[in-house]
């Protein structure tokens, strides 16, 4: 992605990364709220990074990605609350379900690109939102609640989340650095020419869609266990917009951009809400400012300055 870094910077980044992980491991010492906040920031980051595999790496803007967050979340909730499975089986089922839904919806959506892709994904997102609201089995508008927290402890579960997110990010990183990841970027940059490289453009987009949906679903699944509840609003289009926002906030052209964006967003919303009831105004204003002044996102901007 043209972000290949020089040797000494790699070591700097590695150091920063290790420090970051140590910091994250220490979070439970900062109290339960912080633990909870960081856990949700991690999951938002994972969802946004998965979204960005499709957006930043493959060039497809999904405006309905919360659908997969919801698919993952509802699968866990249904498995546990309706069928009495444990959380491990439930999360595994959520992964499978997200992948299957990703394949089915992706198959229909990747026939289009650009604005049409965005609108089509939006339509699917809203359709499933409507289904969740109407379907008793999913708890209707109340959703499903009162799920047991795995391990009976927020702190322990935090480490489950941390580990899962780190492993997932690692896998996503491996994918973006893989030959498959390169084919995503080739399709993004120039689908026309990619076809002349023997890359099946539609199939490549679909692969990206499925991977993206699966990890977004994982984030939703883990989030449900953190929240112990889920409702239809988790699939509403404004939640999808949040992923887009977070990604652009951090920077769509840097792998860790959405992670940085996820943390900034989580803390910004947390602080803004404590300060003013017009916190949405603050978020909206920040969003406008980002678009106008930092279109490469915060991390994108920082890296640009660092590297001259």
């Amino acid at each position: 992605m043209g972000e290949e870094v020089k040797e000494q910077e790699v070591s700097m980044e590695t150091v920063a990364m290790i420090l970051g992980v140590i910091l994250l491991a220490l979070v439970p010492l900062a109290g339960r709220h912080m633990t909870h906040l960081v856990a949700s920031a991690l999951l938002l980051s994972l969802a946004a990074t998965s979204f960005n595999l499709l957006f930043g790496y493959t060039g497809l803007l999904s405006f309905g990605h919360a659908l997969f967050w919801g698919v993952g979340g509802y699968t866990v909730a249904v498995m546990m609350a309706r069928f009495g499975f444990g959380y491990l089986e439930s999360v595994a089922a959520a992964l499978a379900m997200s992948a299957i839904m990703g394949a089915a919806i992706g198959f229909l959506c990747v026939r289009h690109t650009r604005i049409y892709f965005a609108i089509l994904t939006l339509a699917f997102g809203q359709m499933f939102y409507g289904i969740a609201v109407k379907w008793d089995f999913l708890g209707g508008s109340d959703g499903i609640y009162g799920l047991p927290r795995p391990l009976n402890s927020l702190e322990l579960y935090y480490y489950v989340v941390l580990a899962s997110v780190l492993v997932s990010l690692y896998i996503l990183r491996v994918i973006t650095r893989s030959s498959l990841g390169l084919s995503f970027m080739a399709v993004r940059d120039n689908a026309f020419r990619a076809e002349f490289l023997g890359i099946g453009v539609r199939a490549t987009r679909l692969k990206s869609f499925i991977i993206s949906a699966t990890f977004t679903g994982l984030a939703g699944a883990l989030w449900v266990l953190l929240e112990t509840a889920i409702g239809p609003e988790s699939m509403f289009w404004t939640h999808s917009a949040e992923f887009v926002f977070v990604t652009l906030l951090g920077g769509p052209r840097v792998f860790l951009g959405p992670v940085v964006g996820g943390f900034i967003y989580a803390f910004l919303a947390d602080v803004a809400m404590s300060v003013t009831e017009f916190w949405l105004f603050v978020i909206g204003a920040v969003l406008i400012g980002i678009v106008l002044f930092f279109p490469y996102g915060v991390l994108g901007y920082l890296l640009k300055r660092l590297r001259g």
Partner: protein, 438 residues
């Protein structure tokens, strides 16, 4: 149904209950010393302020609820602080927005774990309250007083320890509605209904229709209709109703939806074709203001209820209501809706319970001490005396009133011809409900 005289009798009982409960009659309390003066005077009371966390919809389509609840909360806190706080501790509030849908539970946690709120009040959405209860019970362990969310499931389907609901819930109001119809409008033959398209709407219809069938077995009922929250255009629903030609329409729409519906029903002539229109959520000043005097139907009788009505209990027999209404009106320029009364009462209930627990314990009470004091507590609120039942549901009498133009005395329509139902008549026994638990 009770008459005015019976009500006075009930009121007496309530006041006795209050005395037994050991609550401090705050309406009678003279202006006390300031918290600063009181600080440290009482043994075992910490000197730092007491923080109460509140959560309602502060933004978005339902933002008006949070706004009104917040105003009443502020009123109560200012009163309490002006008269010595709670056992000398100054009260502070911290608020979170329930409209941040993705983070409701996280925000609740934040108030408790980070902002050190010792007690919680609020919650508008039934869905949220059901999600919240297990978290509070299993994890947060702080006394939480619900002021709005009305699902019967909260108190009937859960064994609650830390969570209490001070506000009336939907079941007694709907039961009372069935009684009202059976007693006052026995000529009803066909009933149509509309409600919001989620659990509350379904439950409300289930309770009303089950009870009505028992009381008036011959009544025919249309397939219930449900509209999504925030529906703008009810024309299609109204015409479907008209096609059915009912005598009575039961509507559990609330907030803006309730107002929009009435307005559109007026212009679509619904109230020329039906005789009665009942809405258990109509007795809310925000809704009535939105309806406006111009839309009060003249032909059909429109009846409404609510968790509180600012003209009931009558100001002459229950001065606390009068004080509350006049304070609220002079501070905020409008008459208080029910969310204001319930939040106001919630703060005083907490105060009463803490003080009672302190008396019993002789030291600042822990959460479990406050729970013990809340159980069986009776507190005087603007809506009358509220008794906390063993299932942690506050009980007080239900009213239904007829919609009438407010002019010239009030800026919006009001409810008159108030019919009161004693709580013994309409509250199901603890643990019972006509609604299916999940």
């Amino acid at each position: 149904m009770v008459t005015r005289r019976e009500f006075l009798g009930m009121l007496g009982g309530g006041i006795v209950g209050l005395a037994v409960g050991g609550a401090l009659g705050y309406t009678l309390a003279p202006k006390g010393p300031s918290p600063e003066e009181m600080a440290g005077k009482l043994p075992g009371v910490p000197s730092e302020p007491l923080k109460i966390g509140g959560m309602w919809f502060l933004t978005g389509k339902f933002g008006t609820y949070g706004d009104m609840a917040k105003k009443a909360l502020q009123l109560a806190v200012d009163e309490i602080n002006a008269s010595g706080g709670i056992l000398g501790r100054k009260v502070e509030i911290t608020l979170k927005d329930e409209a941040d849908r993705q983070n409701v539970l996280q925000n609740i946690r934040k108030m408790v774990e980070e902002e050190k709120a010792e007690f919680l009040i609020g919650i508008d959405s039934s869905g949220d309250v059901l999600k919240l209860a297990p978290v509070v019970e299993n994890d947060l362990h702080v006394v939480t007083v619900i002021t709005h969310a009305a699902t019967p499931k909260l108190t009937a389907c859960n064994k609650l320890h830390y969570v209490f609901r001070i506000s009336m819930y939907e079941e007694p109001i709907d039961v009372a509605a069935a009684k009202l119809v059976a007693e006052k409008f026995p000529d009803v033959k066909k009933v149509a209904s509309i409600g919001p398209d989620y659990a509350y709407g379904y439950d409300s219809w289930a309770i009303f229709s089950t009870n009505l069938k028992k009381l008036l077995p011959g009544v025919e009922m249309a397939e219930p209709m449900y509209s999504k929250l925030g529906t703008e255009d009810f024309s299609s629903y109204i015409d479907k109703m008209l096609a059915y030609e009912p005598d009575l329409v039961f509507s559990s729409l609330w907030g803006g939806d309730a107002a929009t519906f009435v307005k559109q029903a007026v212009s679509k002539g619904l109230f020329d074709r039906v005789k009665y229109y009942l809405n258990p959520m109509l007795g809310a000043t925000d809704t009535l203001k939105a309806i406006g005097d111009g839309n009060v139907p003249t032909k059909a009788q429109v009846w409404g209820s609510g968790r509180y009505w600012f003209l009931y209990p009558p100001h002459d027999v229950w001065p606390l209501n009068k004080t509350f209404v006049s304070k609220f009106k002079s501070r905020y320029g409008e008459y208080p809706p029910y969310v204001s009364a319930t939040s106001y009462t919630a703060v005083y209930a907490l105060k009463a319970a803490i003080e009672r627990a302190y008396v019993m314990k002789g030291a600042w009470p822990g959460q479990d001490d406050v729970v013990a004091a809340m159980e069986g507590l009776a507190v005087a609120g603007p809506m009358g005396p509220v008794a906390m039942r063993e299932d942690h549901q506050g009980v007080y009498s239900v009213f239904w009133g007829r919609l009438t133009k407010g002019a010239p005395n009030y800026p919006h329509p009001i409810l008159t011809d108030i019919q009161v139902f004693d709580f013994g008549e309409v509250f199901p026994a603890p643990g019972q409900t006509a609604v299916k638990c999940q």
